[in-house]
Point group: C2
Chain length 280, copies 2
Amino acid sequence: MTTLETRSLHQCFGGVQGFYQHPSEIIGLPMRFSVYQPPQAQYQRVPVVFFLAGLTCTEETFMIKAGAQRYAAEYGLMLVTMDTSPRQTGIPGETDDWDFGAGAGFYLDATQSPWSQYFRMESYITQELRQIIIDQFPADPNRIGIFGHSMGGHGALTLALRYPELFRSVSAFAPICAPMQCPWGQKAFRHYLGEDQSSWRQYDATALIADGRSISDLLIDQGLNDQFLTQQLYPEALEKSCREADQKLTLRFHSGYDHSYYFISTFIGEHLKYHREQLG
Amino acid sequence: MTTLETRSLHQCFGGVQGFYQHPSEIIGLPMRFSVYQPPQAQYQRVPVVFFLAGLTCTEETFMIKAGAQRYAAEYGLMLVTMDTSPRQTGIPGETDDWDFGAGAGFYLDATQSPWSQYFRMESYITQELRQIIIDQFPADPNRIGIFGHSMGGHGALTLALRYPELFRSVSAFAPICAPMQCPWGQKAFRHYLGEDQSSWRQYDATALIADGRSISDLLIDQGLNDQFLTQQLYPEALEKSCREADQKLTLRFHSGYDHSYYFISTFIGEHLKYHREQLG
């Protein structure tokens, strides 16, 4: 069992906000993650929701900015966040771009050198981190959901579609819905996965649904004042794919809201309520 | 009327989170502040609460970390935060210490050179910023409260005691209750105010109450796992001063909570409810 280094613990809404680091076998480097344990976790295993953050974020961002602990305490949900990529890999140029490399792992397993050695966020989350949460925290392994924001919304959608046995509920804030069609996704996929676009489809929620993958339900909130809406996010592509595939989808547009955590914090309570209901 | 530069606006819980900069006449340099306008402010003047942050913070910290907007929207309260000191004054050594100088203005008007030229946070808040809020935002000038954290808790207590006509409600999270007696306060007061300790009393809540100042009510929350509790905060000194002066005080200790915004966020809802009730 991997040994966790506890970086800090903070009491919060009667529960415990913890920040951890461990040597990751799958990544081959130290990885950081964070867990909020609600008060209910002191006497029983509780359902869990993984939150996947967006470009440039770390395992801290959501826990600091989203105001989620209040609702997690109310609903008895454990929250798990992780860093958005491996760090300090030594790969030349890893920090040159804010939308690729460090802070931009895109929640996939890279196949192209040099990224493939370390950039394996998909396996890290679905195998190693999930097992750590089950083994070392009072988590109910049969009630785990996933959600995320922007790049992390893409991650939540694609991981939920590909691993429905692992994640029983899914939602997203302003997700990258069709990364094969947008600049962020094309740049990342070209470097991480190579030029063969057939390998990209497994990491594109819109394509996955078109290809027959499905999930029981899906909630997405999107601000209409989001600076990335028309160039990067493409919710209309996902909506079309869902409609054609008969995939259930609740896609809500919100006038005036942008891409920030001020948007996320406004609707975080509804998302956690949704996950609590989905997870039973 | 001073011209505000709007740095950013974000919709949040149906209201607007704004960040602003302006040339401050009192400070003599650009100053930054932030305002959360609740939905109710779109059709009427609303009560206001000023939040004064702690050492190293900026006008952004509380708005990002406290989870306050949810409650401000519910209670119809405007929130105002400001930077914790002038910045880039050019004074030698202003950024050498995290607990003095930049980020550590202690909410007073310095009398000692070179600090006295710029470090005038007391006048900035009580005169210039207050007037901006009244003139340029839908604020009810007769219903303004003040609260803060740590150094900002000290600021809220001392400004409320000295300007009861300006601030009709006051509360604090883990305030520096007796700065004349603790290392943070002594260091700051010596540099900002000089060696004559009689000039320090007007900036020490415990001394102000002993000297006859009073406020209608006072709410303080303090974590018992606060790393600064015994060396810097001295709530027992304030409690003694209040008891001897018959000053009403609700001082609540909370097992397990530390000095962080995870503590503040847990109790922010109760503080805003308190201010809403006090402000009528």
